[in-house]
Symmetry: C2
């Protein structure tokens, strides 16, 4: 498939003469053809107008029709074949195996939402039948179902050019909910974005849906994204990226004449707790797995373990030593973009420059865009007093924090900002301490793990990829897993409407055969 370098607007493409840019091969240090043309104001306006025009039709496609649409997108993505993998490799610097896995994840995610649609609980169908004889007042007939919130703006992330990008989790959840989607492609992988965008465009056409269900805006600079969020047709925003980027979108959304919700997944240092019994028994194995997790994918995961907390003493010192030895055996790896690499270099340098921080180990970097994994250590007292030690550095780096005792471990935990994850390395003998930590961790994180590592996010029903600010802008949701559909739904209540005017989800005959909550009790 030839890459046009233009935005996809419904069933056509833009002819924008906007700012020209190219993708960049960080491994080879050179740009990749062809030229891309940034979407202009007209493109934004047209994409959003089409999305709004498609909304009422699309949100009322049956759940089976919408499920098939998601499955068609999945198949269209697979049908692109190796061209997609090769382009993504060049644009992201990520290896083939990782991108093939990510494609499987993307396809699996779309199929999961298809299953969610068919199961039907997302309707949250509720029926409170009329009680004409009730005293002192009769009760009216009330029925509730969820409907789609409206056209959604999705911002592709750089670190998952497939699974968190054009047809990634946010898009899949919004389309499943019945929302048309306008994607702002990440400029780090514009070709990958266009290939996937065309696959979605074809799925829209082959499923005979209104063209406005999907558009893809390509471009560089922040103005395009802000203008998209400001467009009055857009009713919600999905974003994965930096804290700074997420905050800018939150502010733009809050400043609209009609404020809208933003689901931004931003910043997390994902603390790992080395509880004493586990550390004594399995310190070496934990050290190896920990360094695997820190360095995986050049550390470019939202769930990268950037902080390790333990009790000061011989076992913790041994762990620091073992982890440093492991680190020394790892290689530097190419980062996604020149900008991410520069920010990583800066972040590591800032950490190294803190008087209270000691460098445990650092791998040598081979070329300009490679990240050199690094480990540091500091005391809990330093962590508590110096905010630099708690800031996210995106890349393969982690800070070990030695706490004087359990009280200081709890104090450091209370000191944490909101996190996507918190991990306990623990054995049977650590349960008492785990029980003290768990209530605090529940307040701080969206996912709590025992004896694993936070990198690796399962796409399933019980996953929460979210958490208190700044991990996300709204802790009441997840951006991964089937519960993500609820971000893009809102309830509507129907009072005394005739059966033939009611949506199928809340009709007495229950033609969709879904769970309905009748007078508060679930039944089919």
């Amino acid at each position: 498939m030839a890459i046009s370098g233009q935005s996809i607007i419904g069933n056509s493409q833009s002819n924008s003469k906007g700012a020209v840019f190219q993708a960049f091969d960080t491994a080879r240090g050179k740009p990749i053809a062809p030229d891309f043309h940034s979407a202009d104001r007209q493109d934004i306006e047209r994409a959003c107008t089409l999305a709004q025009a498609a909304f009422d039709t699309y949100r009322e496609t049956g759940q089976e029709a919408r499920a098939r649409f998601l499955e068609t997108i999945a198949q269209q993505i697979l049908d692109i074949g190796d061209e997609l993998i090769l382009r993504a490799m060049a644009e992201s610097g990520l290896p083939r195996a990782r991108l093939e896995g990510e494609r499987g994840r993307t396809v699996g995610q779309l199929r999961l939402f298809a299953a969610v649609l068919r199961e039907g609980s997302w309707n949250d169908a509720r029926i409170d039948p009329a009680l004409p004889e009730r005293q002192p007042l009769p009760r009216v007939d009330l029925r509730l179902r969820n409907i789609a919130i409206g056209p959604v703006a999705v911002f592709g992330a750089s670190n998952f050019p497939l699974a968190f990008s054009v047809a990634g989790g946010d898009t899949a959840a919004a389309l499943a909910a019945g929302c048309p989607v306008v994607v702002k492609a990440h400029p780090a992988h514009p070709g990958t974005s266009e290939l996937v965008g065309r696959a979605v465009q074809q799925a829209v056409a082959s499923c005979k849906l209104p063209e406005g269900v999907f558009s893809l805006l390509t471009g560089v600079g922040n103005a395009l994204g802000i203008a998209l969020v400001q467009n009055p047709q857009i009713q919600a925003v999905g974003f994965t990226g930096s804290r700074q980027g997420g905050l800018a979108l939150m502010q733009a959304a809050a400043a609209r004449p009609q404020p809208i919700p933003v689901f931004a997944e931003m910043s997390s240092i994902n603390p790992v707790y080395l509880l004493p019994a586990a550390l004594a028994a399995r310190g070496e194995a934990i050290a190896g797995n920990f360094v695997d997790s820190v360095t995986m994918g050049a550390g470019q995961f939202c769930t990268n373990p950037g902080l390790v907390l333990g009790l000061a003493g011989a076992d913790f010192e041994r762990f620091a030593q073992l982890a440093s030895q492991q680190l020394a055996q790892r290689s530097a790896a190419t980062m996604l973009t020149v900008g991410i690499h520069a920010a990583y270099q800066q972040g590591v340098a800032t950490l190294a420059a803190q008087a209270e921080v000691r460098q445990l180990g650092r791998v040598a970097a081979a070329d300009g865009c490679q990240a050199a994994p690094a480990l540091f250590i500091a005391s809990a007292a330093a962590f508590l007093s110096n905010p630099v030690l708690g800031a996210e550095v995106f890349g393969p780096v982690s800070l070990l924090v030695a706490c004087a005792d359990e009280a200081e471990l709890l104090q450091a935990t209370e000191h944490l900002e909101g996190q996507l994850t918190a991990t306990l390395q623990m054995d049977e003998g650590d349960k008492a301490l785990a029980r003290r930590l768990l209530p605090v961790l529940e307040r701080k994180a969206g996912r709590i793990l025992a004896n694993g590592f936070p990198t690796g996010v399962e796409i399933s029903h019980a996953m929460v990829h979210g958490g208190p600010f700044p991990a996300t802008s709204d802790s009441r949701s997840t951006s991964v897993g089937s519960a993500a559909i609820y971000r893009f739904l809102r309830p509507v209540s129907y009072q005394n409407l005739a059966q033939d005017l009611l949506p199928e989800a809340v009709q007495d005959a229950n033609p969709l055969a879904i769970w309905q909550r009748r007078d508060g009790q679930l039944r089919k």
Copy 2:
């Protein structure tokens, strides 16, 4: 019970020397003893610190214990007896029957949430068991449940001194979710607030809960409320009131270092559609019921029908005449506060001053704080071009809008801001037009009624009292009915935790006997 005039801080009371104010009897035009002392910074700080200290304990009280607590609050409120009704009558100008009904509503609301807690679906318990043999990667064990979001600030509304105030819907939902609550009492009914606040305080004590579960701050001026929203312990805000007030809280919450969600219910003109067949067949009955709805409670309901839309012609003119005749038979009624009365006078005068607006009728007011019900009429062309005609005027006034044809009726509907409700007066012959209107109304409103009037909000499972901005700040929720609990919950996922460390809601043995979603399928 003697009224102290002081804030309630946990199990004690403030000794604030803050600004002194009194309640005001609008019917008699005179202040009511005793003096109240505005909460000071220390009171806010102490209430929020206590709330945070209570949080981890309170949120993990069993669902049965929390249900009993809500029932105890209900009983304590009833136990205040007639003193509560008399004080509320004096402070609000509302009649006895209305306040007795509202007390029943308040108590019923608390008991409904007790039932919701026992049923257990609010946990959203999900279990995805481990799949150790899965290829290419094994699946970890994942479990999800909802936990309380944190201490909640609740702002009492003036128009429901019991049901939307100190122990009203927001407080009941937040306490049910497991959130400690700090209420900012509405200064229009400080004595009523204190009496109810003491009832809650007693329930906290008799249920042996941590004192920080509930505090009540009394005071005048906006600074107190803003400072409460800015307190770092507060994690969510519930508000019912004016658009201006809600926007100020939304801005304060968004500007915090850690932004928090605000559930503000603000402004709605609740359009009523007179569809042709119904209007022809039942115009007179509809006119009577409509005027009842407009004038009920001096028009001081969020769901007051402030806009009537129909097709221009003889039937619509007859309706205007009939409604004017009905209006002439109603009396002026005392409003809640001097401020609300002044705003009503101003709003009606502004409407009357528009060149395109004609006054159909207006009742004479008897004294300074009485609202004179009024009806106006204008063309849809005027409604579409002049934003004054679409602004909420809080009180017993409504604007009839005559549309040239169905297309203009739809155009006027698209022109509406977000609404709490939309009502169709319709007969069998109106179904085709209703089907054209319904998709637009679903986008515009939280509740759609057929052949009723929007005043009267049932407290049940299928109720939505919410809607797109500016009806509320977050259309994805409701402030009335059992679904309101979800505003104050957030999901947490547990990965590979041992059964004895997992919360009961997601243990395999299901000791709470609640619905659990296992691999995506609901079962008990």
